[in-house]
Structure formats: structure tokens, C-alpha cells
Amino acid sequence: MTSPSVDRPGSDRAARVRVAFEESILPPLVALAIAAVVGDILIIVFGQSPGEVYRQLLEGTWGNAYGFGQVIYKATTLTFTGLAVALGIRAGLFNIGAESQLASGGFLAALVGLAMPSGTPALLAVPVCLVAAAVGGGVVGAVPGALKARFGASEVIVTIMLNFVVLALLNYIVAAHIHVSETLHTPEIRAGALPRLAAAFPVFSGSAANTTFLLALATAAVVWWYLFRTRPGYELRAVGLQPDAAEYGGVRVGGVWAKTMVLSGVLAGVGGLNYVLGYKHYYEEGFGTGSGFLGIAVALVGRNHPVGVVIAALLFATLSQGGLAVNALVPKQMVDVLTAVVIIAVATAVPEVRRALAAARSGVGGNPPKAGRRESGIDGSRDSSDSRFPIPDSR
């Protein structure tokens, strides 16, 4: 393919940074605007004023310490599941099993917390529970990873199916052996409880926000560092973008898949600490229902970037908590609809806006020049740009 000649001036790095910024910020904003318009229509259908509903939504979340604390609490779990999904996608894997990895991590942490004597110092108990949660999630993640690396089994199918298997198994164990009678949860753990944020900042009092949130932020930073600053991260991203090129570069693609699924499971599993160690101090059936699946949306909206994931987790947590705040005006389910609209808007608007941006830059509509763009050949080979997920390689 003959590619166009380039007459760019020596250094336009500033321009490129601006372009990258536009490409990462503008599309989600457009998506949110679309979601807001749909939300307006819905609110008007319910006979309420959109301004009033949004005001109450914000007041009930970011407007007071309790609401904000609840947002923080919900965002913590979503950050972990979002990071789990995002890490998988970076390696070209679609982990739909965060749901059961989260539950399994929480379950194992609770078991270990129960097993330790009640006087165990937190300095020992918390790390042990953390490792237990990581193992719980990692083991559930390891299964689809190993099956994919060894037999080429689709991780999508395996993780979906494992959700049923693992959740049913955990429910059985709790119901049959260790539940507190009349409930679906285990007894309270004896050691390893994490302090609530209210302990340090009394304004949060009553909310579930706890120090796991700080762990979530630290984890996001570590994931960023791992992806963009280490050799395994370099290889992981290469596998996700172009497995053939990674293989050529001496990377064992199957090994990266197996390892990444374990790490993805670990991230989701550690998310279980938020509820078990930070909030209720026991494992309860269905404590994280939906958080695993919402993690997929968090990764999508956060564009598989750790920073984006944290922001997206806060967004979805706000919507979730805000649903409770506006319950008096509109049904709580309206916010669920709004959440779905955000996801659909991001999924459709983001690629559209990026295309429009590229077209605007190239001066005319459509067809931005793409050096090295290949149409599918007769051998069925495909370019990485046809991949299932748009993976920006921005840092």
C-alpha cells in the first residue's frame, strides 16, 4: 500500500499530547451527555423535573458525607472488578468471571478470618486475609486461563460457566455448614477487620467506606506501573494487541494468558475484602452480586486504563447510590436504566466520536489514513485493529 508522504514539522509532541487528551476525554463526555439527555426524557415521563432529580441525586451522593462515603464504598469494589476486567482485556482476554472471583476471594478471606484466634494483631491478620482473598480469586481465574493456554478453550464461555459453578458451590458450603442460623451469612470474623474511614474522619460516620478504598487506589497505581513500566507488562500488552508479534518477540503467549487470568482473578478476589473485612465482617451469599458484571462496564468506560477505571468506578457508584437518593421522586430502577444507557452510550458513542475527531483532523469526512491498514486477506489474517476490543495504548 502506498502511504502518503509526511510533511510534519520536526517536533509536534505538544500537539500529539493534545490529540491524545482529546481522544481520551471527549468521547466519554459526549457519551455522558447523551445519557443525560435520555435520563431527562425518562424523568419527564415520570412527571418530575430533571433539574430537581439531578440535584437530589448529587446531594444524596457527593453532597453529604454519608452519601459520599457510600459512593466511596461502592466504588471500591467496582475499582477492583474493573481493574480485573481491564487487565484481561489488555492481554486480549475477556474475563466475565469477576463475579465469582470476587465472591470466592471474599469467602476465603472470611474463612481465614474465622479461623484465626480473636486476639491476632491486625498487622498479621489483615495481610493473611489479603493473601486468602487473592488466592480465592486467583484460583477461580486460573482455571479459564489454564484451559485457554492449554486447549484454546474460550475464556468467555469458561468464565461464564464457572460463575454458576463457583457461586453455587459457595452457597452450598455456607448454607450447609457455616451459616449463622436464620441467615445466609457466616459468623463474624475474629481477626482482620479493617477500620472504616469514619474512624479517622468522623464526617463519614454511618457509611460503609473503609480503608479498602486506599488499597484500591494503590492497586490501580500498581496495575498502571505493571502494565506500562515493566517487562511483563510490555509483553502482556503486546499479546493483547498482536499475539503473533508477541510470539515473534519471544513471548510465550499461552503463558501470558494463563498468568493474566490468575492476576485478573486476584484483583477481583481482593475486591471481596471491601465487604468482608471492611464492612460486615462476614461472608454473605450474594454480597457482591452485579459488581463483577458492572466491572466490565467500568473497564469499558474507563478504557482499560487504571486511572480511567477509578473514575468510571466512581461514576457507576454515584449512579448506584444516587438511585437510592432519588427514590422518592422516581423509581430506583430508573437509575439502573440510566446506568445501562451510560454503558450503551459509551460503547457506541466513543468509537463514533473518535472517528469524527480523526476525520476533523484529516480535514474531510471519513477514511482517516492509516498506514499499514490491512483488509482481511484470503488467508483470513487480520489486523490488530479488527480486534474485539479497542485497546488504546496510551499511558
Binding site: D7, G250, S362, G380
Partner: protein, 533 residues
């Protein structure tokens, strides 16, 4: 009909953002001629033709087309549908066929013949067969496209345009994927089309092709038209000078464009030090399976010595890809042995080792498909310049040493003249020639004993070809062993000290470079000779 313009384009400007692909390009093509549009990669040939075929609207300039004996009419900014209706169609470099459909199904896609609710495939097959016989583009309409060779797939692409009534046929680098016999077939078909009153525009940068097939030549450079001449009044040298804007040493200089090569005594025009004959790569009895058959490579043995370029010619799909993959560790061989010399010159058996271990022993590899294997297109140039070496660019533990990655990139970009010289650009944004330079810089810029160069100049412009060939000769002079696998016979003949031909997974003949020629190798490449033995 001669003298009547079929296409007239004037002052075409086409920009993509800051990139000017066409900056005032002109083209006039006469009805019933084969017109060669030549120029380096990035000269804007494909863009100009995409404007003509309706894929891009131009930013300025006019395009006029005359078909079916009508006068020229303005078609500036039309779309592909209008272009096809007017009989202007383009055959792209990368085929646009559905692999899981048959030839006939691909041809009728979008204009299906129906009988009631069902497709009338039988009628379609009949139509396709008739067209196929009339034009000499022989291909079985009932075969699946995925089962076709590259040459056959190209015939289907051409048939598809003719089926839709193309009068002006644009071909973008059609011979890049063909063997010499297939090229000969293509020329016959194009001449037949021309003789039937059709007009052919051929985008190419292979000068021997231009001389052989075209009547008129338009030369483009940096987005502009720099010359138009009768083929009979030009030579490869004058065309090349016009393309590049300066004198270039052509591979053709050594062997006169693939014709009359036998008369030349020297092999590859370089001083070969193969007389020492110290083996650096030894392949013994290698059998390699593919998804299709258990012996895609069927008991191949050869040795490449230090300071030698060993060329492997052959029509693509005869086991070359699998051979390379088995040597580099990308594919597991069923049986046989691969040995590579380490830095001390000792041959090491690497049969059981992985890709990285083989690279560490001393193997460099320029892969045949840089877009699939050679580069992570979304990675920056700097990151691509460490691919395969990433474990050598870590500081403590596994942390990448950004400073060293940057300085490595800076020095490679300088030494290998990669443009634009910006290591933070995604590799996708580079031209084909510069992308290949990134691969070459990475693989030849580090210590190695054996280089596997697969299609090293595919889709690369004349200037870069010259550069890459120089690098290969230099590496040979330094005592490296080079296994050159190329579908470009001219390249093989220009560089190789010995030439082998692969056919049906076997090496059917090995000749000294001095005895090799297109005439001598052709029969082996088609399997007409050497297979019984």
C-alpha cells in the same frame, strides 16, 4: 481508438490532516493502453488512484473519465458505486474477498441472481465460467476462496471487476504476490483486455515490469506528477532517476532486470567470503507440519556458511513460511534438527529451544509479514525497537529501563535513517519502507550470527530497497550467514551466493548464484522439473 483520453486528472490535491498525499498530481491515460503509474512508496500513487476510483474525494483538482466511446465527463468527487457503474474499478493490493465463500459467490456478492427467494448459484457459476474463459482468467467458480493460491485469488479480484463491467481497470502492485509464471499469465490477461478495448492502469515500482508491459509511463514523486513518457523511449535508469530524484544503484544493474542473467559471471555482485565455508546455520532433515498437512516442509536439509547469502526462491505457499517458523522456533517441527552458531562460532543444536533462546544463541529474524509479526503496530517506534530484546532492557528486576530504551531508539533511528525521526510515534503511522527499516534496525543492529531475511523488501520503495540490500551485503561481508527467502526472483538473483528452490515442501534444486537465472529456476518453481527426483 488510440489517442482518445479515457482518464484525465489535473491538479489533484489530497490531504490527510497535515500529511499531503497528493500535491497537484496529473494523469492522462489513453483508451486502450496499459499505463504504468510508478513512484516510490509514499509518492501518492495509490491515493491518486483511490481518488479516481471514488474512494476519496479530492481537496482540489478535477477528474474526468470517458467510457463506452462517450466524451470525457467530469467525475470529480464521485463515489465508488458511481465509479463501478461507469466502469472504473480498482483491484487492491490486499484482496477484499470473503474466504468462506466460493469464487462464484464472491463475484455475485451485492448483485445476487435470484430464483424466487433462493440464490440462483448455478446460473451465477455459468456466467462466471463464461467470463473466465473469455478473458483467460481461469479459475473454478465452485472453489472456496480460502483454498485458492494468492495468484488465483488475484484472478478472482480481476474477474470481480470485469463481472461488474469494468472498462478502466486499476491494479495496485499486482505482481507483489505472484511467481514469475503467474506474472506471465497476468501480463497475457492484461494484454487481452487491452486488445479488447479496455484500459489498464498499473501501479508499480518494479521497473522491469514497467518496461515489459506498459505503453506509457507516468512518474510520481512526493505527491506530484514529475514526468510522462512513452515506454519505448525510456530505460529503467531514467525512470528510477525520475522516481527518486537522484541516481540510484539498482539491483537490476547487476543482472539486467532478470533477463539475460546467465551471461553475467559474478554472483550477486558482491565479494563472497564463503570460500571459508564455516557453517553457521545447519538444517537437517526438517519436516514441519501445518494445519493443512503433516509435511508442509518435507525433509529439508541445507547449510548456510558464514559470509554467505543462501537464497530460497519459490512460489509462495510451498513451505517457505513453515520452514522459517521452524528455524526460528515459532513452529514445532515434527522431526529433524536445527543448529545455529553462537557468538564463538560453535554450532549449537537449538531444536528443542524456544524463540528467545534461539535469538540469544545468535539468530536474527526479519519476518515476512511485518504487520502481523514484525511490529506491534500500536507500539511506539522505541518500543518496537526492543521487541524480542525486552528482557535486555530492564533495570532492577523486571522494570523497563526507559532511558536505555530511548537512547537505543535514538541511535537506531540515526543509523538506519528511520523517518520521521521520532521514536514516540506509533509504528502504524510510518510508511511501509520506514516500518521495515525499524524491523531491520532491530534485527541487524544487535549482535547476531545468522540472519533470516524473509521478503525483506516487500512493499518497500526503491530507495529503501537499495538501503536494505546494502545492509544485507554488509552483513555478509562481516561474516554473517544469511538465509534470504523471497518471492522476488530478481532480489534472490541479485544477492544470493547460492540459490535453492522450494516446491511442495522440498528443496528441489540448489544452484550456485552464477548458474542461477529466471530461465533456469522457473521450471523448478512451477514443479515442471525436479519433483520426480
Amino acid at each position: 481508438m488510440s489517442g482518445v483520453a479515457a482518464v484525465r486528472m489535473a491538479g489533484i490535491v489530497k490531504r490527510f490532516g497535515r500529511i499531503v498525499a497528493n500535491g497537484g498530481a496529473d494523469l492522462e491515460v489513453t483508451t486502450g493502453e496499459i499505463h504504468a503509474l510508478v513512484g516510490e512508496n509514499g509518492a501518492g500513487k495509490s491515493t491518486l488512484m483511490r481518488v479516481l476510483s471514488g474512494m476519496y474525494p479530492p481537496d482540489a483538482g478535477t477528474a474526468q473519465v470517458a467510457t463506452d466511446g462517450k466524451p470525457l465527463r467530469d467525475v470529480t468527487g464521485w463515489n465508488t458505486r458511481q465509479a463501478i457503474e461507469a466502469g472504473v474499478a480498482m483491484v487492491h493490493q490486499h484482496f477484499m474477498l470473503v474466504p468462506t465463500l466460493t469464487v462464484a459467490e464472491n463475484l455475485i456478492l451485492g448483485r445476487e441472481l435470484r430464483r424466487g427467494l433462493a440464490l440462483d448459484l448455478r446460473a451465477a457459476e455459468r456466467e462466471v465460467r463464461e467470463l473466465s474463459e473469455r478473458t483467460g482468467l481461469r479459475v473454478d467458480p465452485r472453489r472456496l476462496v480460502s483454498d485458492l493460491s494468492v495468484g488465483e485469488a488475484q484472478r478472482v479480484e480481476i474477474l470481480k471487476t470485469l463481472y461488474r463491467g469494468a472498462k478502466v481497470l486499476i491494479l495496485d502492485e499486482p505482481t507483489a504476490v505472484l511467481s514469475p509464471p503467474e506474472v506471465g499469465e497476468l501480463w497475457k490477461v492484461l494484454r487481452r483486455l487491452r486488445d479488447d478495448g479496455g484500459t489498464v492502469i498499473l501501479i508499480t515500482h518494479k521497473l522491469d515490469e514497467v518496461i515489459e508491459i506498459s505503453e506509457t509511463i507516468t512518474v510520481m514523486r512526493a505527491g506530484r506528477t514529475v514526468g510522462r513518457m512513452k515506454t519505448t523511449e525510456s530505460t529503467p535508469r531514467t525512470i528510477a532517476r525520475m522516481m527518486v530524484g537522484r541516481d540510484v544503484s539498482l539491483a537490476l544493474d547487476v543482472k539486467d532486470g532478470g533477463r539475460g542473467m546467465r551471461d553475467e559471471g559474478t554472483s550477486g555482485g558482491g565479494p563472497a567470503v564463503s570460500s571459508s565455508l564455516i557453517p553457521a546455520l545447519r538444517v537437517s532433515n526438517l519436516t514441519v507440519p501445518s494445519a493443512r498437512k503433516p509435511n508442509e516442509v518435507d525433509g529439508v536439509s541445507f547449510t548456510v556458511a558464514r559470509g554467505e547469502i543462501f537464497g530460497v526462491a519459490g512460489v509462495e505457499g510451498n513451505g517457505q513460511t513453515e520452514l522459517i517458523e521452524a528455524i526460528t522456533g515459532l513452529r514445532v517441527a515434527a522431526s529433524g534438527m536445527v543448529s545455529i552458531a553462537d557468538s564463538s562460532g560453535t554450532l549449537r543444536d537449538v531444536t528443542a529451544r524456544d524463540v528467545r533462546a534461539r535469538a540469544e544463541t545468535g539468530l536474527s529474524h526479519v519476518p515476512e509479514d511485518r504487520h502481523r509479526r514484525g511490529l506491534v503496530l500500536d507500539y511506539s517506534v522505541a518500543d518496537n525497537l526492543i521487541l524480542g530484546q525486552q528482557h535486555r532492557f530492564t533495570g532492577g528486576a523486571s522494570v523497563l529501563d526507559q532511558a536505555r530504551i530511548a537512547s537505543n531508539a535514538a541511535s537506531r533511528i540515526k543509523t538506519f535513517d528511520i523517518r520521521p525521526p521520532d521514536e514516540s510515534l506509533p509504528s502504524r503511522a510510518l510508511s511501509g519502507g520506514n516500518q521495515q527499516k525499524v524491523v531491520i534496525a532491530r534485527e541487524m543492529g544487535r549482535p547476531f550470527t545468522v540472519l533470516i531475511a524473509a521478503q525483506p523488501t516487500r512493499g518497500v520503495d526503491v530507495g529503501a530497497i537499495e538501503f536494505i540490500h546494502d545492509q544485507l551485503r554488509k552483513a555478509r561481508a562481516e561474516g554473517k550467514a544469511i538465509l534470504l527467502v523471497s518471492a522476488d526472483l530478481v532480489e534472490i538473483l541479485a544477492l544470493s551466493d547460492r540459490v535453492a528452490v522450494m516446491y511442495g515442501g522440498r528443496i528441489v534444486v540448489t544452484l550456485p548464484g552464477s548458474d542461477a537465472s529466471a530461465e533456469a529456476l522457473g521450471p523448478y518453481m512451477t514443479g515442471a522439473q525436479g519433483t520426480a527426483a
